[in-house]
């Protein structure tokens, strides 16, 4: 995809189709390791070992509307083209976790894109489902830090009767993601350091 966030949307749609009630999205960047890891997990119906074995074959699809399914194969290919790796773990009746690890320094790296917009859209379009989005970041030579958006906590605060697709809630989610992402990605600067 032209943005990795679109892959997240695509894989999350698979989770929704699999009947998941909780979808976990984790984006983890480590500058020392030169890795960007994107993981999408769910508690949906899962897959059989045979399905897992074939899930990266674009001509193996459970879709009835067309004969090819390219979401997972492209996600895998995009990770591997950067020198990264891909894995998918699934247990029938328990859920599936898809993980792609990229090397951001690769010339074939695709931009992450608007991941906040993707998460916000998923929450807004699926108000009955829960999402746990975690963004982790370890700048070069610094400690790891993270923030999370957990719609289960949001429901606790707002009350179960407040739908998560209300414009005010969506606005809050957007602001929360934007502010925390900005804070997360701001590198610490040593006091008194000299600019060069």
């Amino acid at each position: 995809m032209r943005e990795l966030s679109l892959n997240v949307m695509d894989i999350a749609q698979n989770s929704i189709s699999a009947g998941a009630s909780l979808i976990t999205i984790t984006v983890e960047e480590d500058e020392d390791l030169d890795e960007l890891s994107i993981s999408i997990g769910d508690n949906g119906r899962g897959m059989t070992p045979e399905q897992v074995e074939h899930v990266t074959d674009p001509f193996f699809t459970t879709r009835t509307t067309r004969s090819v399914g390219l979401g997972v194969p492209l996600f895998k290919m995009e990770a591997e083209m950067t020198g990264g790796r891909f894995s998918i773990e699934s247990t029938l009746g328990a859920g599936t976790t898809t993980t792609a690890v990229f090397r951001p320094s690769s010339v074939d790296m695709i931009p992450l894109g608007d991941i906040n917009g993707t998460v916000s859209m998923l929450v807004m379009m699926n108000p009955d489902l829960d999402f746990l989005y975690t963004r982790g970041y370890r700048p070069r030579g610094e400690e790891r830090r993270e923030f999370a958006l957990d719609t289960r906590e949001l429901r606790t605060v707002l009350g179960e009767d407040v739908p998560l697709n209300l414009p005010d809630v969506t606005g809050w989610v957007n602001d929360y993601l934007s502010e925390n992402t900005s804070e997360l990605l701001t590198k610490d600067t040593q006091e008194g350091a000299t600019d060069i």
Binding site: M1, R2, L6, D57, P58, F59, R66, S67, V68, L70, P73, L74, M77
Partner: protein, 110 residues
């Protein structure tokens, strides 16, 4: 014009998908980012690329392109060849780059 006629005129080598060589060439699309091609190539297009993997065959099947032309002698993976044969999607190889090949295709289609 069929893709077989076009391949003959431009000296392309058939790599796979012989059964689809009577497909009509209708326009041309150039691109290597598969997800991009998937949403933009039109049915009947001659698709010029350097991506000779299984996913490229799936994109051609999805977009219903008339054929794939692997430019700059880029390789066709073995599993991609098998699937192209099964699907009847012609895959050709040629030496010139994407731009020069597109110009040649344009010359035949105009």
């Amino acid at each position: 014009m069929t893709v077989k006629e076009m391949a003959g005129a431009l000296g392309w080598k058939l790599l796979a998908g012989e059964d689809g060589q009577d497909n009509e060439a209708d326009g041309c699309y150039v691109g290597d980012l598969l997800s991009w091609v998937m949403g933009r190539a039109q049915a009947g297009n001659v698709w010029l690329t350097v991506m000779g993997n299984l996913n490229a065959i799936a994109v051609a099947a999805l977009a219903d392109t008339s054929c794939i032309v692997l430019c700059e002698d880029s390789a066709l993976d073995a599993d991609a060849k098998n699937r192209a044969d099964m699907q009847g999607i012609p895959v050709y190889g040629c030496g010139p780059n994407l731009y020069d090949t597109a110009v040649q295709v344009h010359g035949l289609l105009k």
